[in-house]
């Protein structure tokens, strides 16, 4: 019998593409504490880890399954609430099971709750795909968010449910009190979550999920029920979102009904899409970038949400591959021959975008201060840029014009080359 072993990727390729990235990830996670990050950095990284798993779980639906959901925070939130209730049960110590359950393992509770919620809510919603699926997910999100304020015993009303993570038996000698302990907890589960979601893409159902996304009709004629495929993917996406929720429960020790609302559902969509839904690493990049913007940019500018919106629109219109698409595109340029022209053009485009964006930033910052009416004035680099300062408008128009001209020039070149 002839062997077709050679059709599969070689061992070297497998190691390079599947094994090394995870080793690198583990190393990075292990090395970070060596640099003795500040408390702020620790809490920022914890938020990043949670969002990485959350965004990856969302991309199981959007990127891999072709299912646009507007309510993914429902599973994140329910997982988080379940983990917090479990944390309080550990604290109470009445039952033998919860009394011996380590807080470190609470994301498993979140995972189970997310899977259960996915199995229940997915049952009706996965009978549809496309626009009806998106609408149902929106309806479910509204429903659960409304329930959040109504069912006080589970959701804790507007105050939410709080807990104390320094209870129960310790695992790995972590008391879970100091941020360093929490870091190891987050790092461990970020790694497990990422690995788990990647492993899912390698299973038969993971492959058929991509097939169903691309061609649901054909899937039927190779023996698969597309609704069943979507349903199973939905359960797993819910489960991993619940896992992220469990991480958040331990990290923040509080969950409020806001966590199941449309706002975090929208944010996770932005993270996945801006990162790049066609790449496995896309949502990771998106989660890191957006979490950073959320916590850092909001210190610099109260208009940061405007910049987020602009970034999203720009990505949708000009870089559908997202941040990952841009990064891998650049890597490709460096790898292949005849790169200089392409690279020069990319650099010119980047300069053009940066110039136009600078104009936009000045306009936004000047306008937002004037509109607030507190008499604040935008003063970058010792300049005084008020709404009635001619220099402001010179700069705004100047940067805009310079940016557009640069972009125009690269485009003309492109056409000339073709």
């Amino acid at each position: 019998m002839q062997s077709y072993e050679h059709l599969a990727p070689s061992r070297a390729v497998k190691i390079r593409q599947r094994f090394v990235p995870f080793v690198v990830m583990a190393l990075v996670l292990a090395v970070i504490p060596v640099f003795d990050p500040s408390r702020t950095m620790y809490s920022l990284m914890a938020a990043m880890g949670i969002n990485i798993v959350f965004a990856l779980s969302y991309n199981m639906l959007l990127g891999r399954g072709g299912l646009l959901s507007f309510g993914h925070a429902v599973y994140f939130g329910l997982g988080g609430y379940a983990a917090l209730h479990a944390m309080n049960a550990i604290d109470a110590g009445d039952s033998a099971f919860w009394g011996n359950y380590p807080v470190f393992m609470l994301p498993v509770v979140g995972f189970a709750m997310g899977a259960l919620a996915g199995a229940i809510i997915g049952w009706p919603s996965c009978k549809r795909s496309g626009v009806p699926f998106a609408m149902i997910s929106l309806g479910v999100a509204e429903l659960v968010a409304a329930a959040g304020y109504m069912f006080g015993s589970f959701f804790g009303g507007e105050m939410g449910v709080t807990g104390d993570r320094m209870v129960g038996p310790q695992l790995f000698g972590l008391s879970m009190g100091p941020v360093e302990d929490v870091y190891w907890f987050i790092a461990f589960w970020t790694f497990v979550g990422t690995l788990g979601i990647y492993a899912f893409t390698r299973t038969p159902i993971g492959k058929m999920s991509e097939a169903t996304r691309d061609n649901p009709e054909r899937v039927q004629f190779v023996g698969y029920d597309p609704n069943r495929v979507r349903y199973l993917v939905f359960i797993f996406a819910g489960a991993f979102a619940g896992l992220a929720g469990g991480m958040a429960a331990v990290n923040y020790e509080i969950f409020t009904p806001e966590s199941v609302s449309l706002i975090p559902s929208g944010l996770v969509l932005l993270m996945a899409y801006i990162g790049g839904i066609r790449y496995f690493t896309g949502p990771i990049m998106g989660a890191i970038l957006l979490t950073y913007m959320q916590s850092m940019l909001s210190d610099y500018s109260e208009a940061w949400l405007l910049y987020l919106g602009l970034l999203f629109i720009a990505i949708v219109m000009y870089a559908p591959g997202g941040v990952a698409g841009i990064v891998f595109g650049l890597l490709d340029i460096f790898r292949h021959d005849g790169t200089r022209e392409v690279l020069t053009r990319r650099v010119k485009q980047a300069v053009g975008v940066a110039l136009a964006f600078t104009g936009l930033v000045i306009l936004t910052e000047v306008a937002v201060r004037w509109s607030n009416g507190y008499g604040e004035v935008f003063e970058p680099f010792g300049l005084h840029l008020g709404i009635d300062t001619p220099l402001s408008w010179v700069l705004i128009v100047g940067f805009f014009a310079a940016g557009f001209v640069t972009l125009r020039l690269t485009r003309n070149k492109e056409e000339g080359a073709a």
Binding site: R202, D214, Q220, F236
Partner: protein, 260 residues
Amino acid sequence: MSTPALSINGLKKNFGPAEIICGVDLDLAPGERHAIIGPNGAGKSTLFNLISGLYTPTAGSVKLNGEEIAGRSPHAINRMGLSRSFQVSNIFANMTVRENVRCGVLYSLGYGYSFWRNVGNLREVQQKTGEVLERVGLLDKAHLPAALLPYADQRTLEIAITIAGGADVILLDEPTAGMSHSETDRAVALIEQATADKTLIVVEHDMGVVFNLADRISVLVYGQIIATGTPEEIRGDSRVREAYLGDEDEQLALATGGAQ
């Protein structure tokens, strides 16, 4: 006579007031190669969609190896051993050729909805995928993205996915549509080879292909089969000649004349 591989009785399909298939009866012996011909709009594709489960029949029965399949969903019918191809290439464009065939193989080998196995470690799947690729001659293109294949190769891939699951009744919807003469010859050889000892139903416009390939031919006109028989019987049938007007009449005459 043994149980027919496929047995269609009084099959009807209405779309609103329009009767598209009005009472089709057809029995196929196991291993038979059957061609369905007929003018445009006769209902050939609708008939295929009814058999494969994409449409639900208004009335009548379809039996696969003696078991009723009318009204079942396409994936259930596929699992019972009936597979079909499409008139327009219906492949997984974002995947490589090998991944396409693998999608066709997975369920039949019992790895349906499994989420605890790594596809890369499934020897059996790898072996079967390789065999199918070799059988249709796409082995050297295994790693190309399906969307980048030339048209004729996409059609071949379409057939490869169709046979990959090991179904014993194969429906091919215009497998040579849009191909050049040499491509058609190759496609016919491929179909003969790939569907050896399987039951085959093929809808085809190219009369040369039909008369070469088929053991028996049915002529479908306005949703009814007006004649069924061996290629010789169909050639001599006056009703068939009447049904074919214009170009197709000439084509039929050409094929008939050429073969005599």
